[in-house]
Point group: C2
Chain length 706, copies 2
Amino acid sequence: MSGAGQAASGGDAAAACRANASAAPSAAEMGVRPRDVDQLCVDTVRMLAVDMTNAANSGHPGMPMGMADAAFVLWTRHLRYDAADPAWRDRDRFVLSGGHGSALIYAMLHLSGYDLPMAELRRFRQFGSRTPGHPERGVTAGVEVTTGPLGQGIANAVGIAVAERMTAARFNGDGHTVSSHRVFCFCGDGDLMEGISAEAASMAGHWGLGNLKVVYDANRISIDGSTDLSFTEDVTRRFEGHGWRVLSCDGHDRADIARALDAAVAETSRPVMVVCRTIIGKGSPNRQNTEKAHGAPLGADETKLTKDGYGWPTEKPFTVPAEVYERFAARAAENAVVRAAWDAGIERFRAAKPDVADIWERGWSQAVPSADVLLERMTRGFAPVAKATRQHSQDALQRAAAEVPTLVGGSADLTHSNLTWIAGSPAIGPTKGGPAETSQFAGRNFYFGVREHAMGAVMNGIAAHGFFAPYGATFLAFLDYMRAPVRLASLSHHGSIFVYSHDSIGLGEDGPTHQPVEHLWTARMIPGVVVHRPADALETFAAWADAAARRDRPTVIVTTRQKLPELARPAGFKPADVLRGGYIVHEPEGGPQAVVIATGSEVGAAVDAAKALGAQGLRCRVVSMPSVELFDRQDAAWKDSVLPKGVRRVAVEAGRPDGWGRFVGLDGLAIGISSFGASAPADQLFDHFGLTAPKIAAAIGRWWRG
Amino acid sequence: MSGAGQAASGGDAAAACRANASAAPSAAEMGVRPRDVDQLCVDTVRMLAVDMTNAANSGHPGMPMGMADAAFVLWTRHLRYDAADPAWRDRDRFVLSGGHGSALIYAMLHLSGYDLPMAELRRFRQFGSRTPGHPERGVTAGVEVTTGPLGQGIANAVGIAVAERMTAARFNGDGHTVSSHRVFCFCGDGDLMEGISAEAASMAGHWGLGNLKVVYDANRISIDGSTDLSFTEDVTRRFEGHGWRVLSCDGHDRADIARALDAAVAETSRPVMVVCRTIIGKGSPNRQNTEKAHGAPLGADETKLTKDGYGWPTEKPFTVPAEVYERFAARAAENAVVRAAWDAGIERFRAAKPDVADIWERGWSQAVPSADVLLERMTRGFAPVAKATRQHSQDALQRAAAEVPTLVGGSADLTHSNLTWIAGSPAIGPTKGGPAETSQFAGRNFYFGVREHAMGAVMNGIAAHGFFAPYGATFLAFLDYMRAPVRLASLSHHGSIFVYSHDSIGLGEDGPTHQPVEHLWTARMIPGVVVHRPADALETFAAWADAAARRDRPTVIVTTRQKLPELARPAGFKPADVLRGGYIVHEPEGGPQAVVIATGSEVGAAVDAAKALGAQGLRCRVVSMPSVELFDRQDAAWKDSVLPKGVRRVAVEAGRPDGWGRFVGLDGLAIGISSFGASAPADQLFDHFGLTAPKIAAAIGRWWRG
């Protein structure tokens, strides 16, 4: 992985800009009609967006052309960055929520001296380029978060902003200000139509995130046409309702943009939205201010007309006037001063507070012991009693939180059901009047409210910020409300920890609306995600150890509402075996005739069923498989030792059995639930759906007899 | 299925109430402290909620206790219903968005004379009862929609309200008013925290739904505690921003509630929210106004204190004073007059406009030909040319729309990408000033905006309304934004049609954020949903025929962005075979040594691969399986004829291969994509991921050779 987590090569950013300048023609040499240098910069961004999308024959020129003025003002007047060190901890974060406008950020990063050469802009949207269709964290230095699915970015920005306030609360003070970065987010109509934007905005307003500045590209055009077709709400009034300060400006009057951004930056107690009135595709004579400018390249004819209008040569696309690089070199030099001051401050901080600085350092380094080491530490003095795995999860979280001080999180209004509170730490609370109070951000616990979708995206923002290891929880059924951020966590390499309790019909009387059936497999299907469905205390602690240690991919931990038995394990078992994802939990005398794979609440029942079958003469091994993904990663020797070839197999899980086909094969048996659940006490449901030990044994017996 | 779609037995509703009254003791006989009859009704609802949750030892007493006043005023002053005919077409619809307050609606339905006897209230949350934990459409007469997952109900209500405006636009006029029902929705803080509420509210404001009245149970308590912990936005200002009129009242002052509801009902050009300030668990001395009243029964001690406070006997739970039944009998009698007037109006309508009345009748009856008949009609004069299945889908939609006049729908701002426009019909547009204009609701096309989640729930509301057959579309990747309504469509038996284009890496340059990988199987895993992934024109037409004919469950239709070849099919093939979900599309000379199962864009490649392998001496049958669910429903003879036992199998699909394990077994091969996609031209991606015909053939060859 490169990207935000990686220091760019190439040394000094201003030097990089100047090197580009020295190789570039002047505007006059290019044949550009004369204009002031700021205008030259803005128009260069527009022309690069036109060129990139034309070269790819794909992409979105309209948004970059519309927002180039605002981007230029933000970059050159406020944004603190160090292109030579994209991971500078106190950099301002820029989030492009409307990720389809990726050409804008690629152009800005290139001009600013990031490690994104023109060759990459020419390879826009091509295989293996650093300029994919939508910005991807980890692919492009300077891209903070992966965006494209609308509304995610604005919620990520909220997460980054609250994480900054939390680092500030922990490390600023006594004359030291080591954390003071702001989050600037560009969003569009589409982002604001998405419900996640309302959830995230409501959180930001509640928390009083004065370090968050959203610039709303109010171009009044969406893919279907004018927003008059579908989006006529009063956004200003709505965001005021969310607790924001709302400003506005003419998005093509840079003085007006500067005035609005100055006021936005001066506000420190509330999040700010700047409604920036723009023209999509500005300067494209036949497409500007229409949906035709949104999602298709201009093509040769319209490009000619557009560049003629801008007084720009058409012959050599991807040419940047030297003056533009020089302008960004000047900005880099200004930011170098800021960076140097911060570096000096950090040195003073380290000298004055070495212990605190050590915590600072370890947090940013994401240094966490490996899962097996964490598990060993977390289970010292371990004396588990039988209870629900959500209760074990609560216990494991306390141990994990002690080992990993950056672990922070909460629940979407199910704190006492999910059991996700870190004891001894307060909640993240709202600003109580006055500017920039930060003490209420010293806690580790979040009340996310009934906002699963934004919770997930805010977690990803916290992860993207770089200091904390976030977790968040709801019922497993409501994974459906937040699949996009789980997926994006994986694509973005965020170590977000998603905790889902009430994982089956075992939740009982709340009924089928709340009972997950398909959700275990639909979670496992998301590429790169590791899912744990633990069966008892040890497996739950292992799930948390694994999750806390995995800082480059998300982990899903699924727990029961109901009490489960503690498992007895055969001789030779080692706790770290759980981290292999699947292992033998019950072995019959004389070796297995059949193998029964079970997870979570069904492991105990499967063991009882195996014992009953043993008494009837059918020797069954039981394999507990808390994590299919971890098991899949084991070597063939381990897999074959657990699931020996040629021994017929059964799978038992209180959910859709479909996914188990690849483990049990055509002559195997997958016991599960393919219909919706029902509203009744849990024990009646397990009986009704055939998931008690006697019914499992009977089903296996029938299958074995053929 | 019983429920909203079924006329209740038992004849006249007032008579049902009076029969209950005649068997009940008077309040004095019960030992209830004297009070006026309205107060007696309200307190009865509260006591029933206490009794139901106590009996179940589970459930949510607080919301019914808090909203009993508002429910009583609404029911007795405004709500038009006919308990003897819950499916009365012009009934007002009541939606309980906070479905956890199910005891409230069950109590109201029982008291109002619906077919919900006290025995069912006593069986609250028990297996097989008509009083499940959360209200379920189809289980309980009078329950319009299934609620519980928060925010769905308010969006369903928007859907019902727009559907009413659409029936009004089609059938009212010339002195006839056959459609004038209103939608009343109770929602809580949790509903409003969910982003879907913002999406739906924005739609409703845009459409000017003057027939929608939302009563917001502003009790300022959520599960975690006071809303001060997480939800401090100005809801009034936000909803004004959404284009709503916002009123407020004291939720325990029935005169004030009546004043607010009267004003709400008088408003006809905008949706209305009534902010109803209530006390959760009102009257429970130790729990009211705290989260303890929310989700747990009061239990014996607190029940005693509560009932003592209310001057209510504790000995005989589930006892209703006769006066209460009489009060609801009186209301039923008032509504009987309304109903009789409507019946008379319908008779006049039928007499005056028999042809229009026939359309009215056929719409409400949901009469649609069977899928095979529809397919035959839709493919008359069929001369398909090779193109993308999204383009075939556009063609099929036109034919389906001609056959099924109630088909209405649209896209979440991807109209020209999803290709979901019904030609020759306008869009549903906003009210252009003035009260209750309806002509703009005569169209069949929706601009849903970038609001996938609300689109799905609004579709479900349109389906619940009962006249229309709704469809809605976005990219397949954004199924993640709207899984909850797809699931609820199935649980609720809505015939919603979900169309997802851009179904794989075949969308190309937009990259992994937009490329579905896991989504095919995660859609198939939702219980009861039928998924189609057609491979060419015929299969796409079959998908639409099947979807349009299926009025009791949702259908998912998945289409490509890219062009696909038209398939040649072997002798003996009949178009209706496609409706069997899986069939032989290519058969080698000499019979198959292996069977290759493929779907959608991979069928053509699999056929080419099979031909290439045939030339190398490996005889492969190719099975096209556009719908796994339909195939699963076939008899063993069909299945065995398509997938003969003992013949090894391969599956090919441009997505997670995991789910194919149950078809190919342990010695089979599942070719697919387990990682995220990438940003590049589509043909490069198919090559990179091994899904071109040559690479499929090579993989099968390697597998076959061992």
